[in-house]
């Protein structure tokens, strides 16, 4: 319960802090921290416009996407506090409920019949496909390390003690930051500020959504960022007292937003054909984490 409240709370500020970091890095004042939320509230007050060529899929897709992100948030624990849903193997549920939401945005983009949106959908599917092994090898390694298979048990029995486990935690955090940037269609892979349809990935898929639907999609994006931040902080807050862990959680979310902003400010977007190799490199690094786990467990005989 606590984790859901904290994730929703952080998602209010996350994108605002990110945009403010980018503004400061480029020497501007920038909009206020709450500006993204104000935009979303403005969108929620509006009605939606639907194209005549679209079907029911296009109408339900934003709601399904939003619901899938909320469902994914439910399994994330907070320190000693279980998530609302918690069972063995829930990290598989986490990954595939997000994939379900993504699938619906993809087919709704195909549904509009726009040539640009089909292209964006294809790219989104490709990059998500490459990011999936990285996530599974990563969480699978930690499941192997702790011998448990749910997020709650993995995080609560994770003991960071020696230098190599700190190394694994740091590497895992780095990989998860990059996965979050890919899943949220942020800078090294996709540029959220581009105005050319040919270079867009996520933005081009939601070109036809308007009003309330667009608001849902944007809100889901904000929550998704805070959700990945919650997973990252899960590696570090196990075993701390409640006030301390809440403080550390907020600090890690804040740091994550600033790191994402700095990455966006100082990295150029990759060329489209360089993206797969970059995302696959994350899988290779996760594989090294797996190697490190084998080393810790002394499975090398």
């Amino acid at each position: 319960m606590l984790s859901l409240v904290l994730i929703l709370f952080c998602s209010l500020f996350f994108t605002g802090i990110l945009i403010r970091t980018k503004s400061i890095a480029s020497g501007r004042m920038g909009p206020g921290i709450l500006q993204p939320i104000r935009d979303v509230v403005r969108l929620f007050k509006k009605g939606s416009v639907y194209s005549e060529t679209t079907s029911i899929i296009f109408r339900i897709a934003p709601s399904v996407y939003f619901a899938s992100v909320i469902m994914a948030c439910l399994v994330i624990p907070f320190g000693a506090d279980k998530g609302i849903v918690s069972f063995n193997g829930d990290f598989v549920f986490f990954a595939y409920i997000l994939a379900l939401g993504k699938f619906f945005t993809i087919i709704s983009a195909m549904d509009t019949g726009s040539s640009f949106e089909g292209m964006g959908a294809s790219r989104e599917a490709l990059y998500s496909m490459f990011a999936e092994p990285a996530f599974f090898i990563l969480i699978g390694s930690f499941a192997l390390l702790t011998g448990k298979t749910s997020f709650y048990e993995i995080f609560s029995s994770l003991q960071l003690g020696t230098s190599i486990t700190y190394m694994l935690g740091g590497l895992a955090a780095a990989v998860l930051v990059m996965i979050a940037m890919i899943e949220n269609s942020r800078m090294p892979v996709d540029d959220p500020k581009t105005h050319l349809e040919l270079t867009m990935i996520h933005e081009v898929m939601v070109l036809d959504n308007s009003g309330f639907d667009l608001g849902l999609i944007l809100t889901a994006g904000y929550i998704k960022f805070a959700m990945y931040g919650a997973i990252i902080s899960g590696f570090f807050i196990s075993g701390l007292s409640l006030p301390l862990s809440i403080a550390l959680f907020l600090f890690i979310q804040f740091l994550f937003a600033i790191i994402a902003g700095v990455i966006e400010s100082f990295m150029a977007r990759f060329r489209m054909n360089h993206n797969p190799q970059f995302i696959l490199a994350l899988s290779s690094v996760s594989f090294l984490i797996f190697l490190g786990v084998l080393l810790v467990l002394e499975k090398f005989v």
Partner: protein, 210 residues
């Protein structure tokens, strides 16, 4: 802590395999020099101080500073194109390097010898094969030199595992190797730069006795 440095060493190999520019290769070589310096400092505890100082000077001066600077100078002086120009795409390179590491891990796991230091063995063997792969898959002569230096680093890691028992011989040999290879190939390369305008391996077949 040694394990941490060695894992970073393998990540640097992945980074090289998707790098586009030559200057990135040079930087990664310098980084590997610093990593080896750290590993040497932590691993070699049982040898006499002067010998340790010599080995560490070798790693920091040659591997981390002198050789990368010399390579950078060569690239500038010969006006080599700044892109690496591999035969295979970077995507394939990454898959191949990852496969090399996987195979090495499986190989090391199948050796039932309690005296073998597994992580050193894995890192050195995968570095060796990766270096060979870089030599085979890159077009330019300068990238061949870099692949050779990566192989040297791999051999150095392996010798560090046995460094406490036989420190002198191995490291002097490696120092000579690094020195000779870069110097000879550098001179060789400068000569070639005067004759041919671009430095492709394919052009070497044009050099014949008449």
């Amino acid at each position: 802590m040694t394990n941490v440095l060695l894992i970073i060493f393998i990540i640097s190999l992945f980074y090289v395999s998707i790098a586009n520019r030559l200057i990135t290769y040079v930087r990664v070589l310098a980084l590997q020099g610093f990593i080896l310096f750290g590993v040497t400092f932590m691993q070699l505890k049982d040898i006499e101080t002067w010998n340790l100082v010599l080995i560490m000077l070798e790693t920091i001066v040659f591997k981390a500073i002198a050789v990368p600077m010399f390579l950078g100078y060569l690239i500038k002086r010969n006006k080599i194109t700044r892109v690496a120009e591999p035969y295979l795409s970077n995507f394939m390179s990454l898959i191949i390097v990852t496969a090399i590491v996987v195979i090495t891990v499986i190989l090391a796991n199948s050796i039932k010898d309690p005296l073998l230091d597994k992580i050193f063995f894995i890192v050195s063997l995968s570095t060796l094969f990766t270096g060979l792969y870089f030599i085979a898959s890159r077009k330019k002569i300068i990238t061949h030199v870099m692949g050779y230096l990566i192989i040297e680093n791999g051999v150095f890691v392996l010798s560090l595992a046995a460094g406490n028992e036989m420190p002198n011989l191995v490291n002097l040999g490696i120092m000579l190797d690094v020195f000779a290879s870069v110097l000879i190939l550098g001179i060789f390369f400068n000569k070639i730069g005067d004759v041919f305008k671009d430095a492709d391996v394919d052009r070497l077949t044009d050099m014949k006795d008449y």
